[in-house]
């Protein structure tokens, strides 16, 4: 699939107003509802247990399969372990033929989607009915799920009424409670007449041969209670060892999935249970119970790759979708896979559905890290998506991206380009500090946002002119400016120096430093990222300093990643570790070095604070900057709604996907305006670029954008 085709799908999703409204409202309300559902339950401890029990099962997967088979069969079930999805479907087709199954009712089974179950059996002349309301609706529409847990979010009640009218040949009113009744009525007959029920498992317990299904609508129970045959389809990632282990998953699954403390039903089937085989004579017999376990190469590949093995810890709760800024705008269809969507869907699709599709959609990830916070299995989703990017960049090198990154890595070339740009931009800045329109292919940069112009004199040339009056310095700090401080926000870089001087530290700027390598890492270009790491490790010479300060959390994060680029024990690794251990973000370092003082000019200024993703989620710095602000005389700090939501910048993301980035920014601007501050403060130059640009493009000039270092220097009269 081409990038252009993906962009068209993104536009289509953004144009669907029902999706925007429903998904937007859901995602907005989700965090608070989820938190409420977790009252009295320790989420972190729960997910640690989930990781523990799922890890155990993954490490002993062959034993799990064997035990489950033995125990389920001992209780009258039949178990088939399929070595491929084709083999699984062939087995099921034969079973359906042999048992003369004419009609099937299904409760949700994502694994069955991997087999193209419905399509294959429908072509064989079998009536296959999806019974989950959302699945039923999208089946009528001929569409695929837009969300793992709520598949028909993109349709409104009017559209559902039309689909029902067409299906039942009777007029259906667009009233949700009536539509639910119609579904009940239509489906009831299907349940009572079906020859076979099909279920997916949330969990399979090896020690007892038990499968678990959790539902709200009751269709799962119908499927398991009424037909004489019952087929479970699930993958080898669903195993846990014991019934006791299963508890942890059902503690997190409803709370994370739908913000419920528990769903209406949790059903556990152990082997063949009773069923009525002849209702007229009230004959009761054991049902025909089958379990098809997917042990296909895709799943084995996940287990075999150390970087991705943790995918087996996923409990399919969908929380990663519900907090994703990109997903909340575009929904699941953009993710393309007919089965799995969102962050985890990107990963699952790569291994289980289509690596090609996954290679495009992984770009939709902003790397903001919110999914990681709520993930029920504690998966490092952004890091794994980054690994996919790396794989993809190696397998399909992109000449233009590669050139750009090569140029950034070549320090001299990049620096001369920036100097040339400082002059060449003149026609576009029109003498203003922001560029509102850029020509041709660069226009995406200025969609809904102005771009700051490039400083006439880079910070590296200004630095020697700064007079640092520090008597008896307490220590020496090296400043890592990164590209934005060096070439755009030179005043901010100067304020960082002045702030640190004010608490007794001298600052030095090692001149051979280059781009931190974050853009290269973000695009999966590990080669250039490692090159840049070497340049900076040598240039910064951290061994000579007490600390290394950066005023850009993305740079700080990247500096701290350096050790992972080099082999353990190597000289470069050791040096990278020294640099990583001394690298701090400005506000954290300034606070820790005693910078939090009750100082300031006392002039009233209303401030709101935007948390940047790398600072609050990767480095967990959320309080230090607030303490610094609160203790500054004159500053009144008022929190905005969703203050830790991404601003949509995401490095090169806003250039690659302005369609998604722009509405995320729109939301951020809305929340800032609600507070109506004099200044919105943040700690990331990337966020500054994005938010300043957004305010400027909307003609809002009474709200200033400042870095913590800037407002501190200003209020303390250091400038």
């Amino acid at each position: 699939m081409s990038n252009e085709a993906l962009k068209q799908e993104i536009r289509a999703a953004l144009d669907n107003s029902t999706l925007a409204r429903t998904l937007g409202t859901f995602c907005k309300n989700y965090p608070a509802k989820r938190e409420k559902a977790y009252e009295g339950v320790d989420f972190e401890a729960t997910r640690d247990k989930i990781k523990e029990v799922k890890n155990y099962a993954a490490d002993h997967v062959d034993e799990m399969i064997e035990q489950f088979k033995t125990n389920c069969e001992a209780r009258g079930g039949h178990v088939f372990v399929a070595k491929s999805t084709e083999e699984a479907m062939e087995y099921i087709r034969n079973l359906v033929k042999e048992k003369e199954v004419k009609s099937i009712v299904k409760s949700k089974s994502m694994a069955s989607e991997e087999l193209h179950f419905n399509k294959v059996l429908t072509e064989d002349g079998v009536l296959v009915q999806e019974t989950d309301l959302g699945e039923f609706i999208i089946a009528l529409e001929g569409n695929t799920p837009v969300h793992m847990v709520m598949p028909a979010l993109h349709l409104n009640k009017e559209e559902v009424a039309d689909l029902f009218t067409e299906y039942t040949k009777e007029k259906n009113e667009p009233i949700i409670s009536e539509e639910v009744k119609t579904a009940r009525r239509v489906m009831r007959e299907r349940f009572t007449h079906a020859d076979m029920g099909v279920s997916g498992a949330n969990v399979a317990v090896a020690e007892t041969g038990t499968v678990f299904t959790m539902t709200n609508e009751g269709n799962g129970r119908m499927v398991g209670t009424l037909p004489k045959m019952h087929l479970y389809i699930f993958g080898i990632e669903k195993f846990v060892k014991s019934i006791s282990d299963a508890r942890w998953i059902f503690k997190a699954l409803p709370r994370n999935g739908t913000a419920q403390r528990i769903t209406s039903y949790i059903s556990m089937y152990t082997g063949a249970c009773d069923v009525v085989t002849d209702k007229e004579n009230d004959t009761k017999e054991k049902k025909d119970f089958y379990a098809v376990i997917l042990d296909d190469p895709g799943r084995r590949q996940i287990l075999g790759e150390p970087d991705f093995r943790q995918i087996f810890d996923c409990i399919r709760c969908g929380a990663c979708l519900d907090v994703c800024p990109a997903f909340s705008l575009v929904g699941g269809h953009v993710y393309g896979s007919k089965v799995y969507t969102g962050g985890i869907g990107t990963l699952l699709s790569h291994f289980l559905v289509s690596a090609e599709r996954s290679s495009e959609i992984q770009n939709i990830c902003l790397q903001c890290g919110r999914c990681k916070e709520v993930c029920g299995g504690g998966l490092q989703i952004p890091e794994m998506i980054m690994k996919l990017r790396e794989k993809d960049a190696q397998d399909h090198p992109n000449a233009i991206k590669k050139f750009a990154l090569d140029a950034v890595t070549d320090r001299k070339l990049f620096h001369s380009m920036m100097r040339i740009a400082a002059v060449a931009q003149a026609p576009f800045t029109k003498g203003m500090p922001m560029i509102r329109h850029l020509p041709m292919f660069l226009s995406g940069l200025t969609e809904g946002r102005s771009f700051p112009n490039i400083a006439q004199v880079p910070f590296r040339d200004l630095f020697p002119t700064i007079r640092q009056n520090v008597e008896n310095p307490k220590g020496k700090i090296a400043i890592f400016t990164g590209c934005l401080l060096d070439f755009v926000y030179t005043d901010l870089a100067r304020d960082v120096v002045l702030d640190l001087n004010s608490i007794g530290y001298l600052v030095d700027m090692p001149m051979d430093q280059a781009c931190c390598g974050c853009p290269a890492s973000n695009m999966g270009d590990t080669e250039n990222a490692a090159k840049e790491a070497v340049i900076n490790i040598e240039a910064m010479h951290a061994e000579d300093y007490d600390y290394v300060v950066s005023a850009c959390p993305s740079c700080t994060h990247q500096l701290r990643q350096y050790p992972s680029f080099f082999e353990e024990g190597s000289e470069m690794r050791k040096r990278a570790e020294v640099l990583a251990s001394k690298a701090f973000d400005f506000c954290k370092l300034f606070y820790d070095l005693g910078g939090c003082k009750d100082e300031g000019d006392g002039k009233d200024v209303k401030v709101t604070y935007h948390d940047s993703c790398h600072l609050c989620r990767s480095m967990k710095v959320t309080q230090e900057q607030r303490e610094l602000l609160k203790h500054t005389k004159g500053i009144e700090l008022v929190e905005m709604e969703e203050h830790d939501n991404c601003c949509g910048f995401g490095g090169s993301y806003s250039v690659l996907y302005p369609e998604i980035s722009a509405p995320i920014l729109e939301n951020k601007i809305k929340h800032i305006k609600e507070v109506d501050p004099d200044v919105v403060v943040m700690d990331c130059p990337g966020c500054m670029l994005q938010i300043k640009g957004g305010l400027d493009a909307r003609g809002i000039d009474d709200i200033k954008v400042k870095h913590t270092a800037e407002i501190l220097a200003e209020k303390r009269g250091l400038k």
Partner: protein
């Protein structure tokens, strides 16, 4: 046997009510009438009862018949297709969630709890456990898992259309738990 306190009952009731269920308390002597009252008030004309020694002893089927309700105690699967009400006994309760737990493989009990529009579940006070974890401890300690275990928490529900929470899809539309004080 657990110590069943008023506090535990209130906790069970409150949590069940928070998910659109209702809850009443009865003694063995008043059980039949309590159930009949629930159905009479809701205007349910016909009910399937999956009988157990407790329900028989308490005369539930007779109480329903006395209240003028068409009552079935056999051929449950057949009658459940049309009867609007269903009654069965559950083996456990979980106070912290308002959950009733079917802890055994009895197809009639499963059928009435699944197919009826109005389901009344009976649970003995002494079998109500405080927490979800207590329930899993009990299940994990069983010598053998029954063929079926079902947690039931309130009526069936969906939010599949426009994310609007709506009660009553494929399973019961209304649900009442009758907690029986042990003697």
């Amino acid at each position: 046997m657990n110590l069943f306190t008023d506090e535990l009952y209130e906790r069970f009731k409150k949590n069940l009510e928070s998910v659109n269920g209702t809850c009443v308390r009865a003694s063995k002597a008043t059980l039949g009438k309590a159930i009949a009252d629930v159905f009479t008030e809701a205007g349910i004309p016909d009910v399937c009862v999956a009988e157990t020694p407790l329900l028989k002893e308490a005369g539930v089927a007779d109480a329903l018949k006395d209240a003028g309700i068409q009552t079935y105690t056999d051929h449950i699967r057949l009658h459940a297709e049309t009867a609007k009400g269903g009654v069965s006994e559950n083996q456990y309760g979980i106070a912290d969630l308002g959950t009733m737990v079917q802890g055994r493989d009895d197809i009639d009990e499963r059928t009435v709890a699944t197919m009826s529009e109005y389901y009344v579940g009976v649970v003995k006070g002494s079998t109500i456990l405080a927490e979800y974890d207590d329930m899993f401890d009990v299940l994990a300690g069983l010598p053998q898992m029954p063929g079926f275990i079902g947690f039931i928490t309130g009526p069936s529900r969906t939010a599949d259309i426009e994310c609007v929470s709506t009660v009553g899809v494929h399973g019961p539309i209304r649900l009442t738990a009758v907690v029986v004080d042990d003697e």
